[in-house]
């Protein structure tokens, strides 16, 4: 309620400021022979910015300090011996009761006399501070308004000032991207460092047993070997690429080189639908349809395939990546100059010979880059693996058995309600750091290759 009033007041003040700057500027322009440097909107915005900043500063200061001030005021209203006799929980309950009385809602049960007086004085305290803060903000705003208004002359460069403010705001927005990266790296590194104070790095990076003791205490943390997870991740990624690369690449070749315009117009968006489907949907599909199907198919030919296995997760992940591979390959095939293709046709090569012997070798670096991007996508994929890979962090090479990956273990170890006190949850950050470094290297390398490829034909 109060914040709504303040926001309303602020808007009114801003409107006034803009209007006053605007009208003053218009007033200048009507005089004969005077050329005003900036248009009235800029003078209006100039005054408005000048008004907004001090008012916001005061409000921000109150938002920062106000809570503590109110708290100590309430405590000062409670008799000293009562404060002494109460523990922290009781004190908080008393404060809540007093606030409830002050709000006029009242409390259940008997109201003690000191509570009533404290509530009454808190109400007046709240009113007074609210009026004071709102008044101070308004006064500061108005003073700044008048000052800014007084600076408006025909030669005043309001536009340049406003544009400078806009420029700074834009720069701040692009800094968000940098801050995100800094935040990611800082949080991963600091928390992973804390993890390594519990578990030595060599035990993490070269350990072959993953068996965190989630109820463990010092000396009994369990084993945190990365290798089983890494092998699981790589196995699923390899299976996914075995599905996605042939299908995606051939689909891209067919659509760009052979398909009739109508087929292309229909098939391309439909394949791209796959890219927009949330991964949890693929996970569910893998869990309830693909997994049981593979198990039954395995039984038919005498293979023992688990319903949740590296194979299930890998195949479905491959399906998910198909549009990624095909649209990237499509782009890259289209960038190979026509002259290369026409030269091959002129020598009498068939279409497929041209594609295999001319187009693909020429596009190879770009396609490799695209595949690396797809690999990085597969390595970081989470929900399909959480649902369909079986979560069995054991070092083994059989794709028909359940596995666990880095991402699955992050989800299992970090559920959001931990206080990051032991390696059980901190390991999530060490795993996240590993994942981040792997995908970052893949991405940088892939983008480098793709860029080199583009430059080659530009």
């Amino acid at each position: 309620m109060n914040s709504l009033i303040i926001a309303g007041l602020l808007l009114v003040l801003l409107g006034l400021a803009y209007q006053s700057g605007w009208s003053r500027s218009r007033g200048l322009a009507t005089a004969d022979g005077v050329k005003v440097h900036s248009r009235p909107q800029y003078h209006g915005s100039y005054v408005a910015i000048w008004t907004l900043v001090p008012a916001l500063l005061i409000l921000g200061l109150w938002a920062w300090l106000g809570g503590g001030l109110t708290h100590s005021f309430i405590i000062s209203q409670i008799p000293a011996e009562t404060v002494q006799s109460l523990d922290q929980v009781g004190l908080n309950a008393t404060i809540a009761r007093i606030q409830s009385i002050a709000s006029g809602y009242g409390v259940a049960g008997e109201v003690l006399p000191y509570e009533q007086t404290a509530g009454d004085s808190l109400r007046s305290f709240n009113t007074i501070t609210f009026l004071l803060v709102a008044g101070a903000a308004a006064v500061a705003g108005i003073v700044a308004l008048l000052y800014a208004r007084s600076r408006i002359t025909a030669r005043h460069r309001a536009r340049n000032a406003v544009e400078r403010v806009i420029n700074i705001a834009l720069l701040a927005c692009s800094a968000v991207a940098i801050l995100t990266t800094v935040g990611i790296v800082a949080s991963l590194v600091t928390e992973a460092y804390r993890f390594f104070t519990f578990i030595p790095p060599q035990d993490f990076f070269f350990g072959t047993v993953w068996n965190p003791n989630n109820a463990g205490s010092a000396g009994n943390w369990g084993s945190y070997g990365l290798l089983p997870l890494l092998v699981g991740t790589l196995m699923i990624t390899a299976i996914a690429m075995l599905v996605a690369v042939p299908v995606g690449l051939m689909a891209a070749i067919y659509l760009s080189q052979y398909a009739h315009r109508n087929l292309r117009a229909v098939a391309k968006p439909i394949i791209e639908i796959l890219a927009g489907i949330p991964t949890i949907v693929f996970g569910f599909f893998a869990l309830v349809t693909v997994g049981p199907f593979l198990r039954d198919a395995g039984n038919l030919i005498g293979l023992s395939i688990n319903a949740t296995s590296a194979l299930t997760a890998g195949i479905v992940m491959g399906i998910m990546i198909i549009p990624f591979v095909s649209s990237l390959s499509d782009d890259i095939l289209n960038q190979v100059p026509r002259t290369l293709r026409d030269g091959a046709y002129g020598l009498g090569a068939t279409k497929s010979e041209t594609i295999r012997n001319v187009l693909l070798p020429a596009a190879l670096p770009g396609i490799v880059g695209a595949f690396l991007l797809a690999v990085s996508r597969a390595v970081g994929e989470t929900m399909i693996v959480v649902l369909a890979a079986g979560n069995s962090p054991v070092l083994r090479g059989n794709p028909f058995e359940p596995v666990a990956t880095i991402t699955v273990s992050i989800v299992n170890q970090l559920t959001g309600d931990t206080d990051f006190a032991g390696p059980q949850s901190l390991v999530g950050f060490a795993l996240g750091l590993t994942l981040f470094v792997i995908t970052l290297c893949l991405n940088i390398f892939a983008l480098y290759i793709v860029r080199r490829f583009r430059e080659q034909y530009e």
Binding site: S100, Y105, G106, A108, G109, N167, L170, C173, S174, A177, T180, T181, G183, I184, S187, L188, V247, L249, M250, I253, Y254, Y258, A259, I271, I273, L274, G276, I277, P278, T279, I280, V281, F285, L287, I319, I322, P323, T350, K351, S352, E353, I355, S376, R377, V379, G380, T382, I410, V411, L414, T415, G416, D417, F429, G432, L435, F436, T439, L440, L447
Partner: protein
């Protein structure tokens, strides 16, 4: 001599033609094979899409109907012996009246409303049907008693009257009616006892149980005790909050960042760094953003766990690179003539960008925003890391309340132990999610084609 060469030359050319003819056949065959492989790939990819959709729809459609039990409920004073509802006295404070009212409701809640349900179920059963209390109550969903109690709280004059009420059949009853569970399994593997199953069949036969469209899936929140009444409303509102946060933050920040980088930034080390950084950020796995949220927003800034505000912030950071890259692409595509014309008329650079260049890119920015939001909508992994794994049975009133989201609800439902019942329900939730996404994408395509035509 001359004729000899001629004839050998002729022979050689005939020979060459023969060889070429023979190899041509082979080459055409391999051409056909290659083309066939390409076609197979297309058919496979399209087949996967078709399979995925038909599978989800086939599994999910039954969950949009619910089985209703039609009962005549009697509010028997012998069971509901209670004081009248409190009336507000003069001078009573809000809090005191609330307390009295709550006490009355608590007294009502202490009554055994199951007896009311049991009586009405027995009334509906065929005459002389032998079944004990536990078994007969397993037919109706456990929240039936709350439903009846709330009717009474809302209207205490019902005491002693009989009204027609529809309550939900229990999840296990639904499994039995729909054949989700194998009917030929022996008693020990059935979730319902033999008399309960027989009574269900009898009730279906005489029309006391019938199917209706399940509005409750849209209007109820998640429920653990009463799975048949579990709905998506809480998750839907949670997702809505997060998407509002994403739109409110990611679009202005993303567009501003793109404008700065594309139009104003001096070519320097720093801007190069920002550029590389944004490209990499776009490819960082989403789960890493979840780790950032857990460490920075929850552990460091102490924002509430599993609240839409944290989810919204994490998804905003994840969507930003998409919007920045798309906007930059659109800005790059604006014709230089437009810029030069604006500058030539004496516009400043800022005026040129904001008055002339940016409006032209509006369709692209809008499309990128919708696609980015659609992507954020389906994201699950980062939300799990910020605590959105918890069971929440409430509609979040503010972004600071505990909430779930649609994809998280799907994750939670697929993990429910009553698989037979929740598999269709999960598929139904997926259908809802996909419909929302397809609508968003459709709007993006429609707007793009419309706005581009106008521009």
């Amino acid at each position: 001599m001359a004729t000899d060469t001629l004839s050998t030359g002729h022979q050689a050319s005939v020979e060459r033609t023969r060889v070429i003819r023979a190899s041509l056949q082979k080459r055409h065959l391999s051409e056909a094979i290659f083309k066939g492989l390409g076609l197979t790939a297309i058919i496979l990819a399209l087949g996967f899409v078709a399979l995925l959709f038909t599978d989800i729809v086939r599994k999910g459609v039954p969950a949009f109907t619910q089985s209703n039990l039609h009962l005549s409920v009697t509010f028997d004073p012998a069971i509901i012996g209670t004081d009248p509802a409190p009336v507000r006295a003069d001078g009573q404070s809000d809090a005191d009246f609330q307390a009295a009212n709550l006490k009355w409701q608590r007294d009502l809640a202490m009554l055994n409303w199951n007896k009311v349900i049991e009586a009405s179920l027995r009334a509906a059963a065929p005459a002389g049907f032998e079944i004990d209390t536990k078994d007969i109550l397993s037919i109706a969903e456990t929240d039936a008693r709350h439903e009846v109690r709330e009717m009474f709280v809302a209207d205490p004059t019902l005491l002693g009257k009989t009204v027609e009420v529809d309550v939900l059949a229990s999840a296990n009853a639904v499994n039995w009616i729909r054949g989700n569970i194998d009917r030929s399994l022996p008693d020990t593997q059935q979730q319902l006892t033999a008399p309960a199953r027989a009574l269900i069949d009898a009730l279906v036969a005489d029309g006391h149980i019938s199917n209706g469209f399940s509005w409750s899936i849209f209007t109820n929140v998640d429920s653990r005790a009463a799975p048949a009444s579990a709905g998506l409303l809480g998750a839907f509102v949670g997702t809505l909050w997060m998407m509002l946060i994403v739109i409110a933050l990611a679009v202005p920040i993303g567009v501003a960042a793109a404008v700065y980088l594309e139009e104003f930034a001096p070519k320097s080390r720093l801007t190069d760094l920002i550029e590389v950084n944004i490209n990499n950020l776009a490819a960082v796995p989403s789960i890493v953003f979840g780790l950032l949220g857990a460490a920075a927003f929850i552990n460091y800034l102490h924002l509430p766990i599993s609240a839409p505000i944290v989810g919204g912030l994490v998804l905003t950071l994840m969507t930003l690179p998409t919007i920045i890259i798309a906007t930059r692409g659109a800005l790059l595509g604006v014709s230089p003539a437009l810029r030069q014309a604006a500058l030539g008329m004496g516009a400043s650079k800022t005026q040129m960008v904001f008055h002339h260049v940016l409006p032209v890119t509006f369709p692209s920015i809008l499309t990128a925003t919708i696609l980015g939001v659609a992507h954020a909508l389906g994201e699950t992994a980062p939300l799990l890391l910020i605590g959105m794994k918890a069971f929440v049975a409430a509609v979040p009133a503010t972004p600071f309340d505990q909430a779930t989201a649609l994809p998280v609800q799907i994750y939670l439902w697929q993990g429910n132990e009553n698989r037979n019942f929740f598999e269709p329900r999960t598929a139904a939730a997926i259908m809802v999610l996909l419909v929302v996404m397809i609508m968003l994408n459709g709007v993006a395509i429609y707007l793009r084609s419309r706005l581009e035509k106008r521009a």
